[in-house]
Amino acid sequence: MSKNYRILDLIRRNRSPLENHLIDGLVDGRISRRDFIRHGSLLGLSLPLLGGITTAAGLGGMPSLARAQGAPGATIRVGSSVPAATIDPVTIADAGGLLILQQVAEFLCVDGPDLVLKPALAESWKPNDNGTVWTFKLRKGVKFHSGGEMKADDVVASIDRLADPANSSNALSVFTGILQKGATKKVDDYTVEFHLDAPNGNFPYMVSSDNYNAVIIPASYKGDYEKSFDGTGPFKIEKYTAKVGASFVRNEDYWGEKALPERTEFTFFADMQPQILALQGGQIDIINQMPVLAGVALLNDPSVDIISLKSVAHQQLHLRCDSDPFKDPRVRRAIALSIDRDKLVAGLMKGRASAGNDSPFAPAYPSTDTSVPQRKQDIAQAKQLMEAAGAGKGFKVTLTTERYLEIPEYAQLIQNWVKEIGIELELNILDQGAYYGDAVFGKSNWLDSVMGITDYGHRGVPNVYLAAPLKSDGTWNAAHFKNKDYDTLANSYIAALDLEAQKADAGKIQKLLLEETPVIFGYFYDYLTATAKGVAGVQPTAMSQLFLEKASKA
């Protein structure tokens, strides 16, 4: 297909320099179509406009967003983990709880399955020149279930509540150093500005479904969310019973297309095995989140469909850089080189993962520099590095970790691999509570151990992974990695608004982390949702959210 420069010029006319630079990148072939759409959505360009640009650039339009509509009126039954605490938008922190919250309440924008940001309660957004102020335009005519219209005051109150350290907000760690209480300002009833502490090129993700606390609820909220379950979503609460389940009914006053299902039912399970049996026994239609090892029985079950999303969730293996035996980066690299990532992906994760390259830049991120070579198992080189570092005779060390998902099996595989380069690994596998401890330095096996494996959930952008576990002052810096060059690069990446600038920083960070290897990123695992055959239109996200408004049953 040829490029239509006349239309491209017309589109360019009303765009900011930043947006035009992105368009140029697409037209000149420096940026792929997929990366263009993802980054364009981050800058607030609408999906139809993005589609128009890709068509004019001769790369085809957007894939049709319209799904085949199923029959309306079904009751969709979902199995989920038990919410770990009371459902409260401010404090909620677990997959089971945020799944229920997200059924009734909505975000300004949604980080979709393909990491493309889609408008929800916000219609559009854009940054100022340096990315310190982001302006969001709100959708008009959106009603809360309790009746009032959602306006800027509600957005300001919802976000301020989360940024306030006095509120036990679980989103505080997302907003620290980015957005303070009082920095969310109403411009008019349908316009909100976020004044950031520092430039941030990925800010819209912080107020999207990527930050699961950031749902918009009425400004008047005073706590006791379980009494109202007030929100703007396509479903309204019917009944919630702690520890047992919840049910929802269609919201006839919804601002968008009305939901297809008449009702949805959520059943809570304390364990995965009964959930799998319930799906096989026909008592539920969907398992929201299924870890691959626990769900092996379903992967090849002809009566079950698996929705597989590329996520960037991973298990970080940290090596303490400030003390022996991992003080020398050559020893850290030797460990990384002993790991067989192909076997991790194919064997441990049954092919439902992507190999990691010892940086948070997963293949799924548009800013990842794919020209950086993938690290592969190389025992000979690993042995040479051990010799060069004066550790040729090997040593004994303890790997401390948590009993969670496939981590114990992962630890055993590492134990076998490092044996080949003379390292004797003793495994100390703890209950999750014991591993995390108080989660502050000096009182946590996680942050104090010489070597450990920690689970990290999915994020639509790598900002959190770049800062908290790797920056010198990072609050989750279990590797005790302190490197000024890295800090400068990470700050530069976080501030960059332009995709090509982000890519350039990403490449440098990837190379630096391969050299230093404070943390080994072995693989990024896929997010799996299991549905009974005949259930269609289910849309999960890798953040454990589940959008059911287009769901139907055959």
């Binding site: 677990d94 036990s168 760690s173 809570f268 009964p274 049996l277 989660a439 502050v440």
Partner: protein
């Protein structure tokens, strides 16, 4: 008789008091803290501190214990840290559910177990005895999650005859509830059958071999009368104690079955409370089980002393 029971009751109260202290201290040594457990490892420390302050867990331990136990004695189980609502309805509901499941299992296992033991003893060293004894022993050692999953697979997934979840629909009547309790009660039956049958069998063997049985037989009493009047009454004494001690297990220790069958019993309530460091729920739940256990033991003691006056008289001396 009265002083015997007064002594038993006061001993139970002391035990419960000690249990309350142990549970409280045990809860405190669990790693991590409440705010961290609720907000997760990745929450900002300021948020965790704020939540701990709101919940009152940053107060001195003695104050926390005194407040909790004083309120408990007055019938107030406190407010759940996790659910931010009163603990009592959770504990009462869960205890009621556990009792229902225990009752179904008991109604099945006690008569069948005793009958099995009696038949085995009357057929001592014959094939029937071996089948009951060895069969009972074999099913007793099968873990509940193994039998539970096998039953679910057969009756729930393949045949689809029985619901695989024990959580019955709201407003379910007696028979519907019973229907939902069939599958979860079978693994409990299997675990307890061998135990009760074995106790009944050994009690029977001992009674059959005793002088009073021999005397009764020599007196020329019909065999049936000997068994009913002389043997069974004495043989079942140890079985009663076993049944009483199993009450505690059935009410409080069914975490595996409750998790597998998604049943809202007190075992799973306590388990989730411990995981979430929900101390008011954990402490009140365990103390409640302690009370149930103490009451069951008292009832067993009472029955035992009624059936066997030597116990009562001996303890009075």
């Amino acid at each position: 008789m009265l002083s015997f029971f007064a002594r038993r009751v006061s001993l139970s109260l002391v035990t419960l008091f000690l249990l309350s202290i142990m549970v409280f201290l045990g809860g405190q040594v669990l790693p991590g803290n409440v705010g961290r457990a609720i907000l997760g490892p990745f929450a900002d420390q300021r948020a965790v501190d704020a939540l701990n302050h709101t919940l009152g867990v940053d107060r001195p331990l003695l104050t926390q214990y005194a407040t909790w136990i004083w309120n408990f004695i007055r019938g107030d189980m406190g407010t759940s840290y996790i659910f931010r609502s009163p603990v009592a309805p959770f504990v009462i509901d869960a205890l009621g559910n556990s009792m229902k499941l225990a009752a179904v299992a008991f109604v099945l296992v006690v008569p069948i177990g005793i009958l099995g033991g009696v038949i085995a003893a009357l057929n001592l060293n014959r094939p029937l005895d071996r089948i009951i004894s060895l069969g009972g022993l074999s099913v007793t050692v099968l873990p509940e999650f193994v039998t539970g999953i096998i039953l679910i697979l057969i009756f729930g997934v393949w045949l689809r005859w029985l619901p695989i979840s024990a959580a019955w629909p709201k407003n379910a009547g007696f028979f519907t509830q019973l229907y939902y309790l069939i599958l979860p009660s079978v693994p409990l039956f299997l675990v307890l059958f061998g135990y009760i049958a074995r106790m009944a069998r050994s009690g029977m063997i001992e009674a059959l071999d005793s002088d009073y049985t021999r005397t009764a037989v020599l007196k020329g009493l019909p065999w049936r009368t000997v068994i009913w009047r002389h043997v069974l009454r004495n043989a079942l004494l140890p079985t009663i104690t076993v049944i009483a001690t199993q009450t505690g297990y059935l009410i409080g220790g069914l975490v595996v079955i409750e998790t597998l069958f998604r049943y809202q019993g007190i075992g799973s309530l306590i388990f989730t409370a411990a995981r979430g460091k929900d101390f008011p729920m954990l402490e009140s739940g365990i103390l409640t089980i302690g009370i149930v256990y103490a009451v069951a033991t008292l009832i067993a003691d009472f029955l035992y002393s009624v059936l066997n006056p030597r116990i009562r008289l001996g303890s009075d001396q």
